[in-house]
Amino acid sequence: MIDLKRVRTFGLIAGGTLSFVAAIGMVESFNERTLINPGITMGLLLILGIAAVFGYIVAAGKPNPLVETARDSRSGGIAGGLTGAIAGVVTSLFVLFVDTFDVSEFFPNMREPLVEAMTFELGVPVGLLVLTAVVTATAAAGGAFHGMSDSFRAGMSRALGWVVAFALFELVVSEILDFADPLVDLIYAPRGGLQPWAAVIIGALAWWLSTRYKGRGEAFTERVKDSEAGSRLRRSVILFGVAAVIILPMIVGGVVNELLITSGLFILMGLGLNIVVGLAGLLDLGYVAFFAVGAYGTAILTSPSSPAFAPGLSWWIALPIVMVLAAIAGLFVGTPVIRMRGDYLAIVTLGFGEIVRILLLSDWLTPIFGGAQGITRIPGIPVPGAGTISGTDPQLFIYFTFMFVLLAAYISYRAQNSRIGRSWAAMREDEDVAEAIGISTVQAKLLAFVTGAVIASFAGALFSAKVGTVFTNSFDVLVSIIILVVVIVGGMGSIRGVVVGALVLIGILGGPKSPGLLAEFSEFKLLIYGALLVYMMLKRPEGLLPSVRRSRELHGEDLTQDAWLDKGGDFTGDSAEEEATT
């Protein structure tokens, strides 16, 4: 059964989405990157991806947890194809419009290059037919995919995923495989992009692996998670992770290390903010202020050209002083807002963040902080026997970043599973009751603010030593917002979530000032962040890798008694009968 209304709605939405990404110039700029040589560019992938996803969504039908949706690849394919046809026609009409009327005065991207990109440089009548056909076919494939057997779906998605990953992360892959230079030259085309045969081999390999080791991954995770049997296994997994982290920077080159450092700084800040927002439930929108305290503190204490006061300390001596300064700043911000809740707290902290930036810029404090000139000539981190290490040696600097990320993750982990973490959790759930059962919420809040501030100051201190200069524009509101996005997308209260969130958002898409691994995204990253936030709020408010508590909170109904009994909880005493009576 094909739900025609759904086909129509989603066809129009898909057409609108395609026209939108074309109109903002995304397709054109994504076309700069070749994924599979020749011809398959990231722009094409974007078009195909949108078509396939909408085909799939239409075929999947409206999710109904009570009824198992019938899966049938033929009707799925037809529904997807119809959706794609509508989308293709809508998009073609849009391209035709751009081709006919000149609106580039208002929409600078709506010009000839857009038409060329969308018609695969085939010109208007032919190209539009090709576009419609391609979109229809892809959406049909997406729809049919929904009806395929599970093993086909698993194999296909692994294969596509691996090929796309190899193509997108060409830089990383070729740096890791640097020792096998001829191999790299073999699988990648000279001007970028996978060779077609390499793509086929990678896809086939991924497919084969997915069938060969089906279910083994899950079984392994289960075993690692198992508290008793898994403890040795867990240790080896951690050891392996640490080893990988130590070796990776040596293999990959400067660019990737640079990206890892930037992501690392955001992981640090994300972990700090996660304590404040995720664990203690205090929405702090001015978190960048503590990063600024760390960065400026380090700059003043270590730089010989700090304007007012230049003790020229070593980074290692400056660090504890900066931590204390950040802690004081945490108290300073925390104390006045202690009685505020929710939205009020968010607004006031937002204001605090801006006040810090504006004060740093002000004439009054320019003699100390250098105003718009900032503070320059900040030395790196001195290491006995290796000179000073700064951002010019990303391959070495990254180890400091790792060290502090590890420290912050450790602090978060310990705090979370302790008396303090429980008091934060209680406060987040119900502040009045937390107070009524003997938790001083004033203390708990201040502790969260101070811990978060100190962790941000690590990031600030590293940032100063890495970049060598600090300017106020590194500390605007956008940074606070982006850290918050990292925490929300990754999963509030979840350490893994923050790490993955920062790597994806900052490492791949790009941070507030710097482009990520896929530089084409940096122009659109705010749009993507926004879209991601909306999507997350609607579909997955607990984040990509949620903490246990959060997912309980947001999907409470999923966790029923039966689920717990299935886990083998020992059913003691008369509780069974009690369930019957209540």
């Binding site: 450790y410 602090i411 310990r414 705090a415 302790s418 008396r419 303090i420 429980r422 008091s423 959790a425 209680a426 759930e429 119900d430 009045d432 009751v433 937390a434 107070e435 009524a436 059962i437 003997g438 938790i439 001083s440 919420t441 502790l447 811990t451 508590r549 309980r552 909170e553 409470g556 966790l559 029923t560 008694q561 717990w564 009994l565 909880g569 020992d570 059913f571 003691t572 005493g573 008369d574 509780s575 009690e578 369930e579 009576t581 209540t582």
Partner: protein, 260 residues
Amino acid sequence: MALLQINQLTKAFGGVQALGGVDFHIDEGTIVSVIGPNGAGKTSFFNVISGLFPPDSGEILFDGDNLAHHQPNEITRRGIARTFQNVRLFPNLTVLENVMVGQHCRTKEGMWGTILQTKAQREEEKRIEENAKEVLSFFGSRLAGYRYDQPAFVLSYANRRRLEIARAMATEPRLLLLDEPTAGMNPRETVELTELIGELRDERGLTVVVIEHDMKVVEHVSDRVVVLDHGVKIAEGDYESVSTNDDVIEAYLGRPAEAG
């Protein structure tokens, strides 16, 4: 001397005089029931004692110290714990965590101990967990075993009430304030809980003030009964004398003379 001695306690919400000069006392190791019609000010009485709202005037002498205008956490630390009429657990914390949180004010390890994993901190964590389990064992197997790791929101209504009592007990109070502990329970559960309230006094040596609508429970557990109406105490004494008191009967049945 009474463990809790309250003199002339008043509290108004806007125009409503929730408490109009209440005198109250309870001796250590006894159970006093507070009864009264809906809106009599019983819950407000607890809210003021536990510091959720500051009193307008009056004294709250606990063990000789005036606790009026103290922070709720301070009052709990001094030894007064409470439950809420509309059960207020931490729904997403597990059963065990809900009780462990109650130990907060009896433990002290801070950030440094936590980060450094000192011996004292690890021992304290262990002690918190043991104490929490001990408190939960008060309810037999109802909140034990596999229930430890269940989030509180999956519990049945009666178990939520029990868990809330357990959380209050975990704060190691001397005085326990229970706000309608049997509301919503079936007769069997009510009987069981009534027994337990008696045990709180007899075996755990606690002093208990209980707000209760179920007269059978009141009759069974109370050493003394206090009746509130319109924020004032209209009667007190043993169950016999109070239940036959004309003012009390009138308060429950309505007062046609004053209604206009």
